[in-house]
Structure formats: C-alpha cells, structure tokens
Amino acid sequence: MPDFVTSYLGSTLTPGEAGNQFWALVYVFVIFAGVSLAVMSMNWLERKALAHFQIRLGPMRTGPHGLLQPIADAIKLLLKEDIIPAGADRFVFWVAPLIGLLAAFTVYTVIPFGPSQAVSDMNIGILFMLGVSSLGVLGVVVAGWASNSNYPLIGALRSSAQMVSYEVAMGLAVVSAILMTSLNETGTGTLSMIGIVRAQQEQGVWFIFKFFPLGLIAFIVFAIAMVAETNRAPFDMAEAESELTAGYHTEYSGLRWSLFMLAEYAAMISVSSIAVTLWLGGWMRPFSRLLRGSAWDLIFSLFPAVTFMGLAAVAFVGVVRMPRRSDFKVQKIGLAVFGWLLGFIALMLLIIAIAGRSNGAAIPSTVNQSIGYIYWFLLKVAVFMYLFIWYRATWPRYRFDQLMRVGWKVLLPISLTVLVATAIVGILLS
C-alpha cells in the first residue's frame, strides 16, 4: 500500500494536520455518508421510539419492524412533486435549504471522533463550529422570506430569533468549558476540539464533573440551548401545527423539504457532538482513570463487539417472536439477514479487539484503539439522540414569549454566573 495510506494509521495527527489529502478525503466521504445514514436511521429510531413511548408500534409494514421505512420515505420524498409557490423568489427558494445543509455538514470537519479521527484539527475548532452552525439561521430566514407567504415568514422570524437568542447562552456555556481547558501548568487554554478532549484527559476528569456543580450547570445550560438551537421539542415552534404558524418550511415539499429535515437531524448530531466533546470527555472511555490496566483495557475494548452482538441478538429475538405465518416469511428472512450482518460486524470487532492487542500483530493496535475511540464517542452522541426523542415524547411545547424568556432571563444569567464562577474558582485553584 502506498505510504500516504499506511502512514496515517500509525500517526497521532489528523489528516488535516498531517496534510494527508487522501485520508482527509476519505473522512469527508465517510462522514457525509455516515451522517446521511445516521439521519436515516435516526428517522426510523425516532418513529419507533416515539411510538413505543406512546404505546403504539410505529412503522411495521415496510420491512421487518419497519426497518426499510426510511428508504421508502426517501424514495417517496424524491418522487414527490417539487412545488415552488407562485410569487416565490425561485433562486432564493432553491438555495435556502442548501445553506442550511451546508452549514450543518461543514461543522463535521472539526468533530473529533478520536485523537486523530477527524478531518482536521483546527486551532479555532469550537469557534468554527459555533460560527458555521450559526449560518444555518440564514437558511431558515431566507427560506421563510422566499416562500412569499405570511406564515412561513413569521415562522422563519420566530425560528431565527429563537436560534440567535439561544446561541448567546450556548456560547457562554461553551466559554466556561473552554476556560476549564486553561487549568494546566502553562495556563493556556485551547479552542481546538481535540485540544479540549486532551485537556480533559490530562486533568483526568470530564468537564461535566469539573468544579462540581459548575461544569454540570454549564452542561445543562448547553443541553437546553442545543435543543432550542435545533428547533426541537419542547422548543419546536417550527412544527407547532396546532398554532398559528407552521414554520419556515411550510411551503416546501418533496426533496427540498427533506433537505431541511436532513439539516435538522445533522445539526442535532453535531450539537450533541459538541456537548460530548466539551463536557463528556469526547472519545474517552468511562472510568479511564479509575479502571486502568490491561485487563480493564481488554474489557472495555470488547464493548463494541458486545454492543453489536446485543443488536444481533435483538434482531434474532425479533425473528423468533414473529408470527408463524407464511406471509411473514420474507420479513423473517430479512430480519435474520440483518441479524447475521450485525453478528458478522460483531465478530470482526471481536477479532480486532483480541488480535489487535499486541503491537506485533497483523492488525495494528492503533486500529483497535481507534475503534474504541469512535465507539465511545458515538455511544455518547447516541444517548443525546435518545434524549431528543424522549423530550419530544414527554413535554408540551413552550409558548414563544416563554421560550424567549427562558433564553434571555433564565439561561443567559445562569451561564454568565457559571462563567464568572468558573473563572474565579480557576484563579483561586491555580
């Protein structure tokens, strides 16, 4: 294999830092495909989880347990008529979803799935993330305006006012986490996403537990603000169908509408990634200080394989529990194939976990490690995704003025206080 392929595997730098264009491109493609896939499965997961919260079954017909539902939805959306309202500004109408999508996807360039598993490690990583994700607001405003209709316009103004307001509290919460990175010998913090996780590694504590309860409060502020930032329940003014405005994407249909949805879910994943990186130790496995030693390392490195085994088991249980009727035959086979696929992945992960232990083995131990990094990172993000669904099933919707009040009069003072307190505590301790 050429050098530029193999050199990265043993390197501790991201492709961007190392100037490795091949791997950078690979990451870009993997992330693009991965996020799209994640959004699709998130769609399925949300419908199923929400359904089970509400004592329903959710999609059951398209594929076993509705597994093919996202694909069916995607095909339906692609084939739907693409309506541009009369009097709409055609170009802006066309470009608005792309702005949102671009903003949501560009952010992924600096998300660190591992110490070297990112497209690039930017010096201003978190600043870049906040800045680019705030560009999504433009897509919302412009979409509402271009629809040439009153309700989308009001909806767009509301959504963007909401996003801009919560950005303030969100940014201040982020700053208090960045402040924590400077608590080292040199006294300099960092804005780099990888640097932030490294700082948690060096200080041996996730920032959520740092200066208890300051880190926790900052995290909670961020967790609330990020729900509002992504226009999700209970702050989903855009989807408040029972109220006056149905939101900025009222006039959109088919593919364009699905681009908005894609952007929304991608933004959910990216803000969750920020939360994970800043407060939950990013790619670090839990108890990396407490439970050390090669035995613990082995146990934790088995987690990915075990997870996939569990998923495979769930699939097989699903096969067994299906009614013994002939019309379920295809579904049974499909689910079984899906289960075997998961099982195969589990097997591969197991082999890597066992064989990648020693340095001299055929599989470099870095591969084993990177699987661990990515696994823990994605697991933490998945918890946030589940929380998003949980919120939606549990809470009523805020009224718009209450929502703004929460943003400006509750979250902003809290995050300011936490910021000042963090700075004072940091100075006193150093």
Partner: protein, 186 residues
C-alpha cells in the same frame, strides 16, 4: 520574498494557494458587485454573505484563523441575520417600483473611479513601500497571541486591554441605542 513563502510551504502545505486566492478574491469582488447592483435587497444581503465568507477564507490564507472565525460568527452569523431581519420587517415591496440608483449616480461613480485610480496609482508608485514579503505567522498559537495582546499576559496588562474595554462599551451603547430607537413611542 519567495523564500519566505517557500518556508511557509515547507511546514504547512496548503494546496495550490494562488488558485484559492484568485478564486476567493473573484468571488468576493463579484458578489460585492452584486451587493450594490441587485434591485432586491435580500439578494444583496445574500451576496454580501458570500463576500464576507470569501473574505473569511482570505483571512485563513493569511494565517489569521481567529479573525476568520470572528468574521464568520459576528458578520455572517450575527450582523447579516440582523440585516435580514430588518429587511423582512420593513416592507420592501415598494423598492421594486422605485429607481435603484440616486439621481447623482454618475457623479458618485466618477468619484469612486477616481478613488480606485488613486489607489492603483499609489500601489504602482509605492510598490517599494510595501515590502514584498510574507512573514511566517505561527498559526497554532494565533488565538493565544491575540489574547495576549488583548487581555495581557503573565499578569501584565495587554497592549490593547484599554481599547478592548472601550470597544465593549461601544457595543453596549450601540445596543442601548438600537433598543431606544426601535422602541415604540408610548
């Protein structure tokens, strides 16, 4: 001067820098042209966003990542959203029917062309004033160094700390002014 650039390229190898520069510069100028010529204000605003983003790209090429980040957050994410908000609040239907340019546009254009000529003249005449060199700036500690200038370092007050505080006061005044002016009269 070439050596300086080469020295930069040796450590960090940006891909085909000149192409990026020309691309971003063209984008910035073309969209700036669109800003002042479009009849529809929203189109102007969108074009301005493109200009701002391309300028941010140029900052990155100048090894000023922090300024680029600030440019994206403050301009593209903040100021332009404000602009779009205001455009949507004020009724822009009328501007379609109106003349785009003021009656004095030939004079303005002439004055601006004269200014540009002056600039070019100065550039050409004063080539020697701009030493043709590129200093290597440390990119990785860019933010820290700016912070040092702004807030001070190692217990000392920074060179611009006072100016920074004044700037924050300015922002406060601007916020108050905006609130007072847009408030409805009782």
């Amino acid at each position: 001067m070439n050596s300086a650039i080469n020295a930069t390229n040796a450590t960090m190898a940006p891909v085909a820098t000149p192409y990026f520069f020309y691309g971003l510069a063209t984008l910035a100028i073309v969209s700036a042209f669109l800003v002042i010529t479009r009849r529809n204000v929203v189109h102007s605003a969108l074009a301005l966003i493109v200009t701002l983003l391309s300028v941010a790209g140029l900052y990155l090429m100048l090894y000023a990542p922090f300024v680029a980040g600030v440019q994206i957050i403050v301009y593209a994410g903040g100021v332009m959203v404000l602009f779009l908000f205001v455009i949507m609040l004020v009724n822009i239907d009328r501007s379609y029917k109106e003349k785009r340019f003021s009656g004095l546009w030939p004079i303005g254009l002439a004055a601006a062309s004269a200014l540009f000529t002056l600039f070019l003249f100065a550039f050409i005449k004063g080539r020697a004033l701009f030493p043709d060199r590129m200093m290597l700036l440390p990119e990785s500690s860019n933010t820290q160094q700016i912070a040092g200038l702004l807030y001070g370092d190692a217990g000392k007050m920074g060179q611009y700390t006072f100016a920074f505080e004044i700037a924050s006061l300015l922002l406060l005044v601007a916020i108050l002014a905006a609130v007072v002016m847009t408030k409805k009269r009782a």
